[in-house]
Symmetry: C2
Subunit: 490 residues, 2 copies
């Protein structure tokens, strides 16, 4: 069963050759964008552009029809008028094409009887031996084979552990960009649109079976078979985190869903409880989806929920405490022996060491933070460390107060020292460490701070430490781990 679903998806995810039917020289047309994207991302197989007008696109010969292509064609990408789609699929069947993605819209989502009928035709064709993705979709991104979605030419070429299924192509396009800087990498990302053949249930099953996928995420509006989807989740509960954005749950959202993919949104309360019972992690926005994926990539899914928070500035400690507690985390006071030892290293006023730890002002030398990290590492009552540092103040100190030069922050002894402390403490105590680096500049002229921020983030990420911009995001990320652990426990 598991093996069969892997095999069934082989021609979609790993085609050795593909035809782009409706390829175009016109740069604003889908038929040009998708061809450029697949070419630029470095697809390794044979590409056959197809267009009755013939000619050449980007140095490639254009075939007037499928028939004229000399070699085998595994996979077809269709971006032609809706009325021509079913006849072209018939031709694909005759030619032995095993998979197709249909970018064209104008089917079920139009809400017309004609659109519905045309889509039913596609479903029937699929049953005769070709797997169909779409219509009304942006296609497949699979870095391993070099496939990419409609505007996805600058997606990462690295493969990774996230499998993403989405009824929306636009969200795939956005997520591919957002993912890049965050080090989120995909096994496959699939925009399945109206889902006339391949739907959310198939893809969910596939991702559970696929050994390359460790974290599953999805955006669904309506589902072709809700009970089946929930059953698949339940049968696999606790095996892999499944992060799900079920959209269209409000009255207006549901109306928008109908226009978008011609499906039904459903009731908020029913979905919430069904997903919870099935062990899925429910999210409510693109930002929350990204944060949840990020959390499972950078934190062990069984990370403990008793947290120590350390930073400089009382409001930061107070806000962190409120935020973490609201998300179901625990911030226990350090044990008396740890606290007693810690107190010997700090002055008696201007700080608070109990946990949350407030070191008094936002410009904290790493040597001081290291002492608190050691204490939190040692304390048996603490599982996870959160360090809050506002880079702006460090840069401010370095550049303005100490009148130093404009070298990037990473070249000062300051940040490498903190990174080293994080690495040492993690190695010694085997506890996860999370960085919160708030970005407080918004000025167009201070864009270099954002550059520094991204460079710093990349340094920590490369060392395996997750970096968030706000404490709320970190709290929510840990909250998702809580949800997964509860799901596993049953």
């Amino acid at each position: 069963m598991n093996q069969s679903i892997i095999e069934a998806f082989e021609p979609l995810f790993y085609p050795k050759s593909l035809a782009i039917i409706g390829a175009s020289t016109e740069p604003t047309k889908f038929g040009n964008i998708i061809l450029s994207a697949i070419k630029e991302i470095g697809y390794g197989g044979k590409i056959y552009p197809v267009n009755p007008e013939g000619g050449e696109i980007r140095g490639m010969k254009v075939y007037p029809s499928l028939k004229e292509i000399p070699g085998e064609v595994d996979f077809a990408i269709l971006t032609i008028p809706a009325t021509l789609v079913s006849a072209t699929l018939e031709e694909c069947l005759r030619r032995g094409v095993k998979g197709a993605e249909i970018l064209t819209s104008g089917f079920k989502e139009t809400g017309t009887p004609e659109g519905r009928r045309m889509e039913e035709d596609l479903t029937r064709i699929a049953q005769r031996g070709i797997r169909i993705l779409g219509p009304n979709c942006f296609g497949i991104y699979c870095p391993e084979s070099g496939l990419t979605i409609l505007p996805g030419q600058n997606f990462s070429r690295e493969t990774g552990p996230v499998g993403f299924l989405s009824q929306s192509g636009g969200l795939c396009a956005d997520l591919g960009q957002i993912a890049k800087g965050l080090g989120i990498r995909f096994s496959k990302m699939v925009s399945y649109g109206n889902g006339c053949d391949v739907g959310a249930c198939d893809l969910l099953e596939y991702f559970f079976a696929d050994e390359k996928t460790r974290v599953i995420a999805g955006y669904v509006e309506g589902l072709e078979d809700g009970p089946k989807f929930i059953r698949i989740l339940r049968e696999n509960r606790g095996r892999k985190p499944v992060i799900l954005w079920k959209a269209g749950l409000t009255a207006t959202g549901s109306r928008a869903v109908m226009s978008h993919t011609g499906s039904m949104g459903g009731s908020e309360a029913v979905w919430h409880s069904a997903l919870k019972q099935a062990g899925a992690i429910q999210v409510y926005s693109a930002e929350e989806l990204v944060d949840a994926i990020y959390a499972f990539l950078y934190l062990p899914a069984n990370a403990g929920l008793r947290v120590s928070v350390m930073g400089g500035g009382g409001a930061i400690s107070v806000a962190a405490s409120d935020s973490l507690e609201r998300m179901g985390l625990d911030i226990p006071v350090f044990s008396s022996s740890v606290l007693k030892k810690l107190k010997t290293s700090f002055p008696p006023v201007g700080n608070s060491l109990k946990n949350p730890v407030d070191l008094g002002n936002p410009m904290i030398p790493p040597s001081m933070l290291r002492k608190v990290m050691e204490a939190a590492g040692e304390d048996q009552g603490i599982d996870t460390l959160i360090i809050i540092q506002i880079l702006f103040y460090i840069l401010f100190q370095v550049r303005h107060r100490l009148r130093m030069d404009d070298r990037p922050l990473s070249q000062f002894s300051f940040q490498p020292e903190l990174l080293k402390a994080c690495e040492d403490v993690r190695a010694k105590y085997q506890k996860p460490i999370i960085l919160v680096l708030p970005e407080i500049t918004t000025d167009a002229r201070l864009i270099d701070l954002e550059s520094e921020w991204r460079r710093e983030r990349d340094v920590y990420q490369a060392a395996g430490f997750p970096v968030f911009k706000t404490i709320d995001q970190a709290a929510r990320a840990l909250h998702h781990l809580v949800a997964f652990q509860r799901a596993k426990a049953g």
Copy 2:
């Protein structure tokens, strides 16, 4: 009464001369940072650095004590050891100083009887004729008079309508930075710390009385007199929006509050209902605080809550609908006459025009958006317009697809055309327009996109249109207007 509170605060906010007691040449010391900050931001009055060691700082003569200063001193900034504070205040009294801010910590917030006693001394001194801010605070930012808080030398020099009171100095420091790029400008921002004399109640009364303050915002942990604070809010309900972040409401948060400012957090449920009944707008994080202030600056407080949302990409419409409805907004379907007219301008498939309006793909020509804006303007059932545009795709189209050059986005005909459409539609129909420009790039190498984003934001802001990065933020901003309107209605 109102006039008297204005007069009482005069020496704090508009001093003609000030002494910095504890001024220092050492760049990491508060006594140096505050002096530099006030000098650099351009305080127009006379500054007298005071330090028993004498000498010179930044070309200014240092006086060994207050007594030696030749002219009058209106205001004193104290950054000296806690044990010297009360004696120095006695000296201030003798010298006729009418206001003082005490940056020094080590008082009530230490939780020791000694700290509490020392703070009670300060309260008694205040009653003898000097207004005291602090201790354990970062001071006053008042761009009109050129005062600024501890690390606030690069705060904006422009004055504006926001009055901000905060128990936390760090939050003031952050907010001053965050505010800059968002065009949020302050009448006064006051970090009052432990509040031994001037506290949240006084400042709230002041801001209600102050004609220069149109929007009041605050961060409070504990309150010296909770019932009085609520009474002031109730008496002034609906006069000005009051945005309040009451922190320390969870058990852990409350513990952190005790260490931070030595006050009591209080119960979440009690505060929530008291603030709601008193007409205040409650927020739960720094980000939400900023968004709420921003909303009241850029939107009329009586803006209507029936919204039209337009963008390209189905998931965007669905997500916007869910988000807005969850925040209490209404997205009515366009009236049949408006819809009928609108339909004549667009192809029959690939879009959805009912409201939310999905124009099919994220690269929408402004001429198309203008048509939808006109429809929403005309429709009697719509009060407010939200336009969603992802700049990344526009840049992508301009630069990569059309092979154009690297000029900033603002120089292309594209964006000025959209801005013009916004201005025309606003002028014609008198309905507020909100821009949502999601930023989907996170890559360190794509920092120029963030630069473009900030430039675009500035252009719209300068024309009076608020710009948000996410639909959730826009929805929450409108939600705050809802809260204010309900408070006004009583």
